[in-house]
Subunit: 384 residues, 2 copies
């Protein structure tokens, strides 16, 4: 038998560590700080939910017009005037990353990313063959002017994993750098609504005047992820292309899931939902920070995040420690975390960084989970 002929990108397929870790996170007794799971007790009640028989038929690739109108109105409330005609409903915002990658990236395409960034975006960009141009947001134009990358990918509000928030001036610099150098501004903004302190949250894409841009967000963090409903908004030049790629990918997003999101938001106004979410997550963040101080203050440094779902920690060690090597021991002792390495675009194999999620686990488990984790990290640091 002859060998199968794969495309070159087949060699660049990498498993996401998230997936691997999630598979052990469900074990009984496991305390998971690994994934970005929303707290299940924030999910809407499902018995009041219904959909219509008409939702069972094939539907439009761009998504249901009522939901696109809703998203446009929601962005308008945030001070950004976009048309429903620029909105494409996605099967989760992961799909937006795939569509943009498909449209722009082939072997050797340069993509500008922050030094740490969302690992599943790196996974997709790498699959399509991206080379990375790292940028520091405070000198973003220098980096972009030099290489003129096809895409600048930014996650400017409560970034995953760092929880960093760009200031207004930083946002303006990113918008300027993209427009000036013909780079697509690709803004991924799933955590924007999960803010616990006042901070700058204006979409960078809303600051552009003539460039090409894609902004995306999701109902996964504000409503529920299991429905798989996200959306993108883009400059008019890109819409027909992204729409055709969406159609080629899965024809359209589940109409039933779209209807359920809409009905959830009819039953409970999004503003009220968000108020509750922020209240709950802020308390969880504070409790997590306290537990961290108890168990990790001598081991690691971190900033308390002003929004989002993650703490990003750096071990107090002059050795670069490969935190992936510690995951096995952590799982054995009944706790999971996310090693830092997959968030680095430079493919480093040791980073001394790791990410902890505070939304998914019960507040009651923070202390015990972090205690178990501290034992493992402490042991490793003594051995190094």
């Amino acid at each position: 038998m002859s060998a199968l002929k794969f495309a070159g990108r087949a060699e660049r397929i990498k498993a996401s560590p998230i997936r691997e870790i999630l598979s052990v996170s469900n074990r009984p007794g496991m305390i998971s700080f690994a994934g970005g799971l929303p707290a299940a007790d924030t999910f809407p009640e499902v018995d009041a939910l219904s959909f219509e028989k008409g939702d069972l038929q094939y539907g439009p690739s761009e998504g249901e017009s009522y939901l696109r109108e809703y998203v446009a109105a929601d962005l308008k409330k945030a001070g950004w005037q976009v048309s429903a005609d620029q909105i494409l409903i996605l099967t989760g915002s992961q799909q937006g990353i795939d569509l943009v990658g498909k449209l722009f990236i082939e072997k050797g395409t340069e993509v500008a990313v922050a030094s740490t960034t969302y690992l599943a975006a790196l996974q997709v960009f790498s699959l399509y063959g991206a080379d990375y141009v790292p940028f520091d947001v405070d000198s973003v134009n220098d980096a972009i002017a030099q290489t003129k990358p096809a895409i600048l990918y930014a996650n400017p509000t409560f970034q995953n994993p760092s929880s960093e928030v760009y200031t207004l001036q930083q946002r303006q610099s990113v918008a300027y750098a993209c427009e000036e150098n013909g780079s697509l501004l690709f803004e991924d903004d799933p955590y924007r609504e999960l803010c616990y302190e006042p901070c700058e949250r204006q979409p960078i894409c809303s600051m552009t005047s003539h460039g090409s841009w894609v902004y995306q967000s999701t109902f996964s963090k504000t409503v529920a992820p299991g429905l798989r409903i996200g959306y993108l908004v883009c400059s008019a030049d890109l819409y027909p292309k992204l729409l055709m790629l969406k159609q080629a990918s899965d024809l359209h997003t589940s109409r039933v899931a779209q209807r359920l999101v809409m009905n959830i938001l009819h039953n409970e106004d999004l503003a009220i939902r968000l108020e509750k979410l922020r209240h709950k997550y802020k308390a969880k963040r504070d409790a997590f920070d306290q537990s961290l101080h108890k168990h990790f203050s001598h081991l690691a440094a971190w900033n308390k995040p002003s929004g989002g779902l993650f703490f990003w920690l750096t071990l107090n060690s002059d050795k670069n420690i490969d935190t992936r090597q510690l995951l096995g021991a952590a799982v054995e002792s009944g706790v999971t975390f996310m090693p830092g390495e997959p968030f680095f675009a430079d493919g480093r194999t040791a980073s001394s960084c790791f990410r902890l999620n505070f939304s998914g686990a019960s507040t009651d488990d923070y202390d015990e989970g972090l205690r178990r984790l501290a034992v493992i990290f402490e042991k490793q640091m003594l051995e190094c």
Copy 2:
């Protein structure tokens, strides 16, 4: 401003004519023979349907285990022993075409297809850069041995658009040709259960012994398309790769939609559903055939399909007529059909062929719709 840098495949994005036609098919009074829409009155009642709060959380990329087990059991009933571990739940079977394309096809990759084949598969394969190797099923090994294409794509049971069904011997030849020449056997089988006369329906993939294969089908035709639930089964060597590509594409399929499919099949056994569907569609097929005889017997030739949802007609004309040119006039007179050209892998611009769907329109509208259509085709043939 510098120009955007698109990937090479951006030039190969083509709108699907289906999408364009569907957008006019909803106009009041329009009789649509264009899309492959199931009859809406075959859809399950939605008020009895529910899902669980747990379905709102993130879930596994491979799909819900209860649904994978169900699919494995269903294929077992059809005489094919596969494991649930080989099954990947898809956001509709269109996604399977995209995943296989992503894994195997880059610029210049050869893909073997029948002379006419599913247009949305061609759309995806072309996007990734495929070159086509046409094969005649009766001499399939000659074509495959010569070029050893990366993929052979087949739609062997009630093919879209021709409604052709491969015989047992033809199926065995396809399996042999793929295994012998190291080509992926990619079998797309959405219409398998919609059979109105006895005919061969054994999956070709079940006839392989050592090669690599992907078989896919969908609940779109047997339950409802708006949920967007399909699945693929593949040889063990391909599963990890396809799973990682699925994860990179949309993390996982809507868990709520998966639960609803499962609950629909709990409420009504699939065998009973299929019995009703076949009964209904068989009657519709017969009525459509009668109307065709009334209006098209002097204009075109066709075979009455023994299953599936389509009639494939060839005009009685020695001129190759570009049926796309007739669509505007048809829409104006209140009827839509699917021009034949996009189903030809050789990119021909005129074919004298066209496809008519009989499941979506009301039986009461067949006569009037076909009368309107015959007027337009007759006029064109007289002018040619």
